[in-house]
Symmetry: C2
């Protein structure tokens, strides 16, 4: 009972059937790893976005780069869409099969291929999830910091240029992918980048792929940076009299260069949701949830500075999570915010904003967004990677009441309009998918979209790679 | 008396004359800002590479993005090459007018357009140099860390994906450019990116342009990140019994996660050169020149840890540069290494390697390169941004003795071959230009080059943007 696709997108999205000959070829090659079962197709035809679309016609479970190349070669031959599928956690409809075609399931490509602890890097198959990766490298004393809310796959995170709570210190997928194995739209296998930390060798095909949402190729193997586990970690929560005060604290600590590792805002609604979902007893007021990484001494020093700044802005109840268990509990609660939030309104769907703005404009943007949502009387909550200038306001809408969804979309448009006006972006980390195609035009301008379109047409002339996403062709 | 272009490149590089009508149109629009004077053309027809090429036919001194767009529109109309020209400090022939055409001089585009100290960013015209930028933002308490040897322009640094001594802590141009104004090959003006710190909004056109060496468009305005000047800075030198010992010290401090800001290797020859050039009295042995940024306490802590590690590897004469003047003197000497090195052999030209390798393989790569150069009896010196795995071995060759250049190129090929073999890159920061086109094929493979070529052909179908560079079309 989700919302249909926006009507103005439909003309671009005529269904493209999988011919019988192609289906036969897939079955011959993949046997029972090729499925047309309704349940399997439906599972690969939805994500966490509030958009409905028809499911893919076929799902192929790939186990190697060569498998993916074989599927794409057939898709190229028959000009049929292919969509890479990982954890299925897109919030923007990025993996919906809007023109039918083949869903390439990468979840069986879940091997760590090579760990290079001495070089602080690891190469994984695209279906490895972020939590699996961290579990499997635990013995090295290293960790992979990028942590979107879901336990997403590294492939999906690369495709959407994902980030999460650690980006303020460690960067996003943009900064943390060193090299890729990519299946091109013609079904060829290429490698981009190297294991060196930097390079000036030709066009940055790695960064061209990162964030392209599967529209230029399928990333099958990914080399990412790792980081030494800090000698000391400490987490703290601090409650503020207003969202404005919490955000102003953040702005100041970024401006003076505190190397804070995580700096997350939760508004009172979000705190209420995680309290309920994770049985916590946090004060239900705007809150910063912070983490400090470094040596024992530097962590203490950072924390003391932040405590000073926070109290200037009326911060109170500064509480330390002193044990690893307490820390994990707090951060797990933060990562559950999305699902915790949904339980504030059982049966609801979530419309989530994802703007990211220059940090000096963050306080006004978050505050106005909050006020507008309150005034609209729509249940919502705010969480934010405020150290990056990125925040999410999640509007909880009853799918049976179309007017609620329309109100949420209207509020979202206002949030985006304001972000672009102050020099920010409509999406900090979720991607464009289907949901933000209009916003991208406003943000990037027709000329930049034309350049994207030219690149897309040149690399994928048959428009088979995840068609219908990011921009209209 | 430089070397000619490699013969196998020449077939791709037929001269393309500027038609009289175009020259007339340029003169009408730009008056005396359009020059065909021999001296002006020659000044725009050479760089720091050891390669000779014919000069451009015309030089236009642009003062705005609109000026650049006007020149490119004419170049598009007449299918004539255009080459953006900044400081002229390319080491790889990136700005040589191998097919003639128009040199677009951007040095008058030297304005800081807007400083956003509260957002830690600044927007500059492409002709602003890195030193000018740091001078003009001094009052903000912020700095721009990227520092290649030359006082390069921000435009040129963007075009080659430059880095320098601070990259180990602050990243390269890849990580530090937020947004661009670009003149496309059709002479249109587009904007890429925003002032937000991160974004998932469509293809990463910013990163596609960064490192494309002017072959996809002319970057005219650039928004870069700035950083708060650290509360405390301290620099130190430490002498080692061997290159191997110095590099192993570096490897270990990177692996344990010391946030060192600069970590530069100089071999004994390089120390001798800077001693002579800058009247210093450093011990003429392999040396690390390091810098620590942070709070007073954390700088002390980092330095103590590094000193411990260094002494494990036989590091001695650990010396602190305690005053800002001493520190500046040391780093100025380091930045002079290129010119200091040339004075070891008056009248010489320099062939410089630029490989960057996974850090675990750095010690063997540097040591073997040094041994091979010694065995070849060719005057040389080594400097390295070893914290990144990047090092330069500069061979000093007598332009009157072609055999010396050939020997240097042969040694360079070996250094590159080894770097690629261990998972590294032929160029960490100088770019491909003309000099490393063959190496790029070995490194990236035919498939990746094909993808680059497809992008180039699509965006610049008339091949007017700095033709003949990076790869053969």
């Amino acid at each position: 009972m989700n919302a249909p696709l926006p009507a103005h997108l439909l003309p671009h999205l005529e269904p493209r059937a999988v011919p019988a000959a192609m289906l036969e070829a897939l079955r011959a090659q993949f046997g029972d790893r090729c499925s047309t079962a309704q349940a399997v197709r439906e599972q690969h035809g939805r994500d966490e976005s509030p958009i409905d679309a028809p499911p893919p016609e076929v799902v192929v479970f790939c186990e190697s780069t060569e498998d993916v190349a074989a599927v794409v070669k057939l898709a190229d031959q028959y000009a049929v869409p292919v969509i890479a599928f990982g954890a299925g956690s897109s919030l923007e409809g990025a993996l919906l099969a809007v023109q039918g075609g083949v869903s390439i399931d990468l979840n069986r490509m879940n091997k760590i291929l090579s760990i290079h602890p001495e070089d602080l890097s690891v190469t994984v198959q695209a279906g490895v999830t972020r939590m699996q990766l961290n579990n499997e490298i635990r013995h090295t004393g290293l960790f992979f910091p990028i942590d979107p809310g879901a336990d997403a796959s590294i492939g999906g995170m690369s495709a959407t240029r994902a980030s999460g709570t650690n980006a303020v210190r460690y960067g996003t997928m943009r900064e943390n992918v060193l090299a890729l194995t990519v299946v091109t739209p013609q079904g060829d296998i290429i490698r981009t980048g190297t294991r060196a930390r930097k390079s000036s060798a030709g066009y940055d095909l790695t960064r061209l792929m990162i964030g392209s949402e599967g529209t230029l190729g399928v990333m099958t193997e990914i080399t990412v940076k790792l980081y030494p586990l800090p000698e000391a970690i400490s987490a703290a929560t601090c409650t503020f009299p207003s969202i404005d005060a919490a955000v102003r604290t953040t702005i100041q600590l970024i401006q003076i260069g505190i190397p804070i590792a995580r700096c997350e805002l939760l508004d009172a609604h979000a705190v209420r949701a995680v309290n309920k979902h994770d049985k916590l007893t946090l004060t239900e007021a705007p809150m910063l949830l912070m983490e400090f990484h470094g040596s024992e001494a530097s962590v203490k020093e950072q924390a003391a500075t932040v405590q000073d700044i926070a109290s200037d802005f009326g911060g109170a109840h500064f509480q330390w999570a002193t044990t690893p268990e307490e820390r994990t509990r707090l951060w797990t609660a933060r990562h559950h915010a999305y699902f915790a939030g949904m339980q504030l309104k059982p049966g609801c769907r979530t419309v989530t904003t994802d703007t990211c703005v220059p940090i000096s404009r963050l306080a006004e943007c978050v505050t106005v967004a909050s006020e507008e949502a309150e005034a609209a009387g729509l249940l919502h909550y705010i969480v934010g990677h405020v150290g990056d200038g990125n925040f999410h306001i999640a509007y909880l809408v009853d799918p049976a009441v179309p007017a609620e969804r329309e109100r949420a979309e209207q509020l979202n448009r206002e949030v985006v309009r304001r972000a672009i006006e102050v020099g920010g972006t409509c999406t900090g980390e979720h991607g464009i998918g289907l949901h933000k195609m209009d916003f991208l035009v406003d943000e990037a301008g027709a000329g930049a979209i034309d350049m994207m379109r030219t690149v897309k047409r040149a690399l994928d002339p048959k428009n088979i790679m995840n068609p219908g996403k990011i921009f209209a062709l």
